[in-house]
Amino acid sequence: MNEFTWTNFAKIASSTLSQMLGTATPVALAALGGLMTEHAGIMNIGMDGMILMGAFVAAAVSYYLASAALGILAAMVFGIVIGLFFALFTVKLRSDEFIIGCALNTFAMGITAYLSRSLFGSDGIRGAAYLHNIHIPLIKDIPFLDNVISGHSLFVYLTWVLVILMWLFVYRTPTGFWIRASGESPETLRTAGKDPEKMKWVASILCGVFCGLAGAHLSLGKLNGTFVEGMSDSRGYIAFACVIFGAAHPGKVYLAALMFGFFSALGLQLQGIISSDLTEAIPYVITIIMMVYVVVSGQRRREHLAKQQLKKLELK
């Protein structure tokens, strides 16, 4: 270990925070999609598969057409298709959401591995056109911030914009209201003359697009034009946890993703000290703790409410 100095600490801190942003982004992108299906009352555990297939499509298209932009576009279009597919089974045919989600994940593992091996050999896709990191002009000159905020893939910044847009969409547009109503009280929406199933389709498609983006970020943004088997690495499940933890609110969901990112980054920093097998488990352990917290705090809140109610009644 190096001797402790403030310069060293700043270096470690900034690289941790930088890694946090990088790691949080694919999770956040998928979670932004997942919160749509969550609002529409669909339990979507199929995000991991959607991300994985998105990553593959983006890398493959970018490889053949030598254009990262087209790769991203292809991943989004593919997201629409997979969203339609997911809605077809869960909404139209009313199959079990859990089973379809599982099936999607397993299918994604298989099909991407098969296509990747048969088209690109056992190493997967390498050398596809990718997104270069962006160095933001003004921030570039600020020492600490430069290391944290600047120098990321476009997706990191895009996510910030998308969080705001998503919040506007969910809480400030009629369609957002309809999607939420379709999950919370579909019959109400139906009697209001809107089709709740249509809203679920919309939510499912949006989720597909966001997961496609998350996948594109993984292969073209984070890993510089590479696809490896199983590269979604359970991020879809983490995204689902973030959706629940953030109560499907875009801002809170993003914070939850940042938290996951932070602990992942922390794990990386600790790798020199503790065995990497253990450090890699940190974010997942944190996820479990987060979920327990959600349950416990929910109970606390209800108890607190009960006590307040009691006080109010006693006063009467």
Binding site: L168, R172, T173, P174, G176, F177, W178, R180, A181, E184, S185, E187, T188, L189, R190, T191, A192, G193, K194, R302, E303, L305, A306, Q309, L310, L313
Partner: protein, 509 residues
């Protein structure tokens, strides 16, 4: 007056059920039309056709002389038809204003939802129709009566001039019912609206409607001017035979105390205090009725007494033995039977047969088994047949799956089982919810029979008439506390209503 709505030979067939059978009916502009009938008579189905939820399998529907070809709620709303459903169609996490404008949101800049405008529009409606409600309150936080107002305002916002109300008073107190009727009269008088009200409470028909249509088994059996009929006539039209309601003879004098509840505190499912310091006692040979609006602790009270819910403080004594903290089985062994509130979840095993359901609780009796493991099916079936006859259960025999039976017959299975224990204490909750008049008459007779035979009966019912009819004494519960105790023949329904809303003493003083 002109015909606003005309049903011509309308039939509606669901797989295996003819819900509406060749119905022809005209409803006039500016009238209050009551549609009555027992459960499953097809009232709601007919109204769902008018509101576009169901597409009729035969016949034609005309609204203001125009033939309806597209059946959808959206098209119905466009035709000016509004419906307040029995189960409210509201999104709990949205505000009052957001619920009212749902589907037709005001927008600013053409994209974003304009919450301020939504609240302003709501306030205007509130002012215009005199239906006071806070536009920015979340719907899950307001009372059922207010939620109903939101429902009505919603239809008005959509420009309805034909209003369908499906069982609107089922969840209201007598005072709230009066207020609702006041609103109905006002909108009919001032806004020239047409109101159709679905109900099975006949005194409400008499109170509010101009004309009344009676349905039975999918058929429209008669349309009358309300002033030409009385409740008795309507009841017999509904059931298809004369209904004798008034000869419940109560005999005998109350004996020893059989249930005693002392300073009981119980929490509801959310952990909120539901029962707060209730003390009561029931003697043998009397019926103690609990009058309360839903959600004022009556369910939790009865669940605590029967051992189905944890008691936080206080004591319950059944037949002289402390039953506090005992399991339902142990309490039953002390001599208590229980007709639970929700027969589907706690009253019957839906997928089991009638005979198995009747056996529950008696499996261990010697006559039904051999050495404790072999069940004597033939004895069980004989016993079930006996009860089946005695309690007039109607269905496809004792081997029918209970879940496939009608609500009334399912309830008969529950009552047959519970009453056959012949225990000194009966706790009965909602004995006739969702049950038709014929079966109601039957249950009432049975309950009074048990009373006269010396049972101590604790009764809770959302139907105030029922509480009055059966009880010797009545207590009112409000927010988990007893607000009054009365002899049933010394108080009126209106007075009880005040105590049920916690304003009783205030009104008295």
């Amino acid at each position: 007056m002109t015909d606003e709505i005309r049903f011509e030979h309308i039939s509606m067939e669901f797989p295996g059920v003819l819900a509406n059978d060749d119905i022809s009916l005209s409803i006039r502009n500016g009238e209050v039309f009551a549609l009555v009938g027992e459960n499953g008579a097809g009232k709601s189905t007919l109204m769902n056709i008018l509101y576009g939820i169901n597409t009729p399998t035969a016949g034609n529907l005309y609204v203001r002389g125009e033939k309806v070809t597209d059946f959808s709620p959206k098209a119905a709303i466009d035709r000016g038809i509004g419906m307040v459903h029995q189960h409210f169609m509201l999104v709990p996490s949205f505000t009052v204003a957001q619920n009212i404008v749902l589907g037709r949101e005001p927008k600013n800049a053409g994209v974003l939802f304009d919450n301020k405008k939504a609240e302003k529009l709501t306030r205007e409606l509130v002012k215009e129709y005199g239906l006071e409600v806070d536009p920015s309150a979340e719907v899950r936080d307001i009372s059922v009566g207010l939620q109903q107002r939101v429902e009505i305002l919603k239809t008005l916002y959509r420009g309805a001039d034909i209003l369908i109300l499906d069982e609107p008073t089922a969840v209201l107190t007598p005072q709230e019912t009066d207020e609702l009727f006041e609103v109905i009269r006002r909108i009919v008088r001032e806004k020239e609206m047409t109101v159709i009200i679905i109900t099975h409470k006949l005194y409400e028909v008499m109170a509010i409607s101009d004309r009344v249509g009676v349905m039975r088994q999918g058929k429209l059996v008669g349309v009358e001017n309300t002033c030409d009929v009385d409740e008795k006539k309507l009841a017999s039209m509904m059931v298809g035979r004369p209904v004798l309601f008034d000869h419940l003879e109560k005999t005998g004098t109350p004996g020893d105390v059989a249930i005693e509840v002392d300073d009981l505190y119980v929490a509801d499912n959310r952990g909120l205090p539901a029962v707060r310091g209730v003390s009561l006692s029931v003697r043998k040979g009397e019926v103690l009725g609990i009058a309360a609006i839903e959600g004022n602790g009556q369910s939790e009270l009865l669940e605590a007494i029967t051992g189905m819910r944890k008691i936080n403080r206080g004591h319950v004594t059944v037949c002289g033995t402390d039953a506090t903290g005992k399991t339902p089985g142990e309490i039953r062994a002390l001599g208590l039977s229980h007709v639970p509130e929700d027969r589907l979840s706690t009253g019957v095993d839906k997928v089991a047969s009638v005979s198995d359901n009747l056996l529950v609780g008696k499996q261990k009796e010697k006559r039904f088994n051999l050495f404790g493991f072999h069940q004597r099916r033939s004895t069980v079936d004989r016993y079930a047949e006996e009860l089946y006859e005695k309690f007039d259960i109607r269905g496809a025999g004792i081997h029918t799956e209970v879940g496939s039976m009608s609500g009334g017959n399912m309830q008969k299975v529950v009552v047959a089982r519970e009453f056959s224990f012949d225990t000194p204490v009966l706790v009965i909750s909602q004995p006739t919810r969702g049950v038709d008049i014929g079966a109601m008459e039957f249950f009432h007779t049975r309950i009074i029979e048990q009373r006269n035979a010396g049972a101590a009966i604790l009764l809770s019912s959302a139907d105030l008439d029922e509480v009055f009819r059966l009880s010797d004494r009545i207590i009112t519960l409000y927010e988990g506390k007893i607000t009054g105790e009365f002899k049933a023949d010394e108080i009126t329904k209106e007075e009880i209503g005040l105590y049920m809303t916690g304003t009783g003493e205030g009104a008295k003083a």
